[in-house]
Homo-oligomer: 483 residues x 2
């Protein structure tokens, strides 16, 4: 018999989040950290199937908005890389290089694909009829992280999507930035149930090569922010470096206006795990769980055959309803099975034993509420609806969590208190242009925190003075500690 | 107006296959070869969507047979790589290495993942209850090809699936080899309509580290063979190098028995394109075409609105039936649209104009037959059935093509004639063990051809003598030229 200590989690989420996170990855078999290269982890089947489901929902949303998939090479020649000056400056230290092959250009493993894709865009775009061009790729990218790595959060390889769009006008490009924020909202928030702050980053914290960046900041249980999908207005910096031009309706040659957007699926999984999980293990949203209903037969020698036959029928009925359903036919005892699937975060468990067979009911265990209910076999079709309600509960809980952590601050001492309590401060700030950098440095030095930016999808009007320098505040910013 | 020469193919498939192949990749927008790194190509949306559909069908088949998905890191430490002696010998020249990072092991880009995965298997497998372990990953792999590369066929990056299985007994492992051949049959042949010869490779041509290899040989239009998915009986060579042991039911420690299987999706796409395409362009099987029905409205000023409204309704009805359907609403003339979608190989085109609206019919153009038929709007549900028939026709044609190219040979002059005619010889051969290597060398030197192996899924009995050395033949082999 496996000991409880081996199976379950040894710490509580709110007592030691960091250890809880490491343990859950291991015990729910999401990842294995024992791969012998720093910053690279193995994604086990439970993690891989969840990631696959997340990819599919994300890709579907992108395609619905007119994006088409592509695949670009994993290697980028150094020559390309050097074409956009601020981009190379921003990314070069983070690049894995391949050993040089004689007579060929030095090659980088892509840390992001602007410099791979845009040379092709310059070949593909000729006329205004070729615009907008909206392409994305599902691709792993590689960054030589020198900071300490954390599985799924800060890794040297991550699983992402990058979309790269070109437009005829700046207005269209800016509208795309807003569309990208909407995509994050529709997928990460509405489907994965992870609320976020769409933060227009300060000038000193934008993407290398961008005019501005709007990044989604998500709260972790320890009160720190983690950056999730970000979208960038590139304007024409890359278009000029890579010569991406089109002829407008009058035949005049113009540079395109560009944006790019990058949801890192593996990193979003880190937020899903951290936000929804509890002391018994993962809680996966119904929309992305590899198994949505796990069926547990409970039988003795006499009724074994009958029970297994009935459970097969129920499983088939669920599969036919489009539910990802599975029977746990392993040799473990029912209690062990309950434990195992609770750890893995499966939304619904259906128990079928003698009583249930007789009464034509099932015992439905609901993972997030840790509650048992009776479900008539004739009501199996309700599972989808229960799944939606399940996800809505997760969403509400997450939203409430975030709401409670964002605190308005008027003074430096407010700020100090809020940050000490591991919360996020909402406060007046002089500026997120270059002239605000000094105040941001003060925030960093005195509070070990960061000015994350202003809301990127609506204007919040500042009334009053900057919490740091006391000059007239132009902006309402959010300040927090971060990963 | 676009000139015909720019749009269409400039050569006939049977007159210059090689140029036809390059042109079709470009003009059907499958790939773009202008990426500036040798052996790496860009997969454009039409190619990417087809590849995605192929991946999904392949993964579904593997999962149905009990395989689970995983994701392993793209990098493999040199230490791992060296653990299995014949494997390192076989693969080392083909490896891309990363620039060494101080204090860390030298890293290779995976050319295949045995040496990444098996160290983890040794951690995961403890007991007979952990077996069989059947895992796969969807992953790109990288080989430093020194030979001339050809897009999708021999590239430095390819899009593949690798599955790696462990068993308690040799019999189970051998059964897995047969299951893998069946998977190739069920997916590549029955769904992608690419027939193949499952060739148990001669001793001198097996996978580095395997006991034996069964590879699928597929004919190309130029009479050459191309290797498609191969499956390998690894037995215990890697298990011993990576210490993958389990305790059997009596508690005795034993090494596992292993197999691996690797369908390269991008390479199979090369066969799909080559086998089914014609002088008007691609012909994609209904099962994998990104668009299954393309709807073309034909209108004048008066009936434009009515036509577009009706076509929207038809498109929605098709989507609801689960058909991948799209309307071509571009500004091109109908003739140009026909041409474009024929080039891209969409199985069915539906034309809707005044006549069709009046008669409540559609004009259905069938790509492979280049034939127009009438389809009642009330019969839209027949499209799935027509799609199956479409694919069956492609399959039959491909099977007939292969059958006609395999010729029994009794003498060296038969062999010479058959190979000169760009066909495949089926002939008696002394042995595919080491002692047959000399005769294989003769085949290579005299005929510039290869002994590809014997059937891997059934025994063909040799009656007579070896076509080369005239000694008693143990085997019936297939000889051909190859990619």
């Amino acid at each position: 018999m496996t000991k409880k200590s081996e199976q379950g989690l040894s710490v509580k989420k709110d007592e030691n989040f960091s250890q809880w996170y490491s343990e859950i990855l291991d015990k729910a078999e999401v990842t294995d950290l024992r791969y012998n290269v720093k910053g690279f982890v193995v994604i086990r089947p439970w993690g891989a199937m969840t990631i696959e489901n997340m990819y599919q929902l994300y890709e579907k949303a992108l395609q619905k908005k007119g994006h088409k998939p592509t695949f670009f090479p994993v290697v980028i020649p150094e020559t390309n890389f050097k074409k956009e000056a601020s981009h190379v400056k921003g990314f070069k230290p983070e690049v894995f290089w391949l050993e040089k092959i004689k007579g060929e250009d030095r090659l980088a493993l892509r840390p992001t694909s602007e410099t791979a894709m845009y040379q092709m865009y310059s070949l593909w775009i000729r006329s205004h009829r070729d615009l907008p061009l909206k392409l994305y790729q599902r691709a792993n990218v590689f960054r030589y992280e020198t900071k300490a790595t954390r599985p799924l959060i800060r890794a040297r390889e991550f699983y992402w999507i990058e979309s790269h769009d070109c437009f005829a006008t700046k207005e269209q490009a800016e509208a795309q930035v807003q569309e990208d924020i909407q995509t994050t909202e529709q997928v990460m928030h509405q489907q994965f149930k992870i609320p976020f702050l769409p933060m227009k980053r300060p000038e000193w914290d934008k993407f290398a090569g961008a005019t501005y960046t709007v990044a989604s900041d998500v709260l972790m249980p320890d009160g720190k922010l983690i950056q999730q999908p970000s979208t960038h207005l590139l304007e024409q910096s890359f278009a000029k470096s890579f010569d991406i031009k089109f002829k407008d309706e009058e035949g005049k040659e113009k540079y395109v206006w560009q944006t790019c957007y990058g949801p890192a699926i593996s990193r979003i999984l880190a937020s899903v795990i951290s936000m929804h999980g509890d002391n018994s293990g993962l809680i996966l949203p119904f929309a992305i769980s590899p198994i949505q209903t796990i069926l547990i037969p409970i039988y003795n020698k006499e009724n074994k055959e009958k029970t297994l036959k009935e459970i097969e029928k129920i499983n088939s009925a669920l599969l036919e309803l489009g539910i990802k359903s599975e029977i746990d036919n392993s040799e473990k005892r029912p209690g062990e099975k309950y434990h195992c699937w609770e750890l893995k975060g499966v939304p619904f468990r259906l128990e079928i034993g003698e009583k249930e067979l007789k009464e034509k009911t099932l015992t439905l265990h609901i993972r997030d509420l840790n509650k048992r209910e009776e479900l008539k076999i004739s009501d199996l079709k309700n599972i989808s609806k229960l799944g939606k309600e399940f996800d809505e509960r997760l969403g509400k809980k997450a939203e409430q969590f975030m709401k409670n952590k964002i605190i308005d601050c008027k003074t430096k001492s407010d700020l100090k208190k809020v940050l000490k309590e591991k919360k996020i401060a909402r406060t007046n700030f002089c500026s997120i242009s270059k002239d605000g950098a000094k105040c941001a440095e003060v925030v960093e030095k005195e509070f070990n925190a960061e000015v994350r930016g202003i809301l990127g999808n609506k204007k919040e009007k500042a009334v009053g003075n900057c919490v740091i320098c006391n000059k007239l505040a132009k902006e309402v910013v959010y300040i927090g500690k971060s990963y």
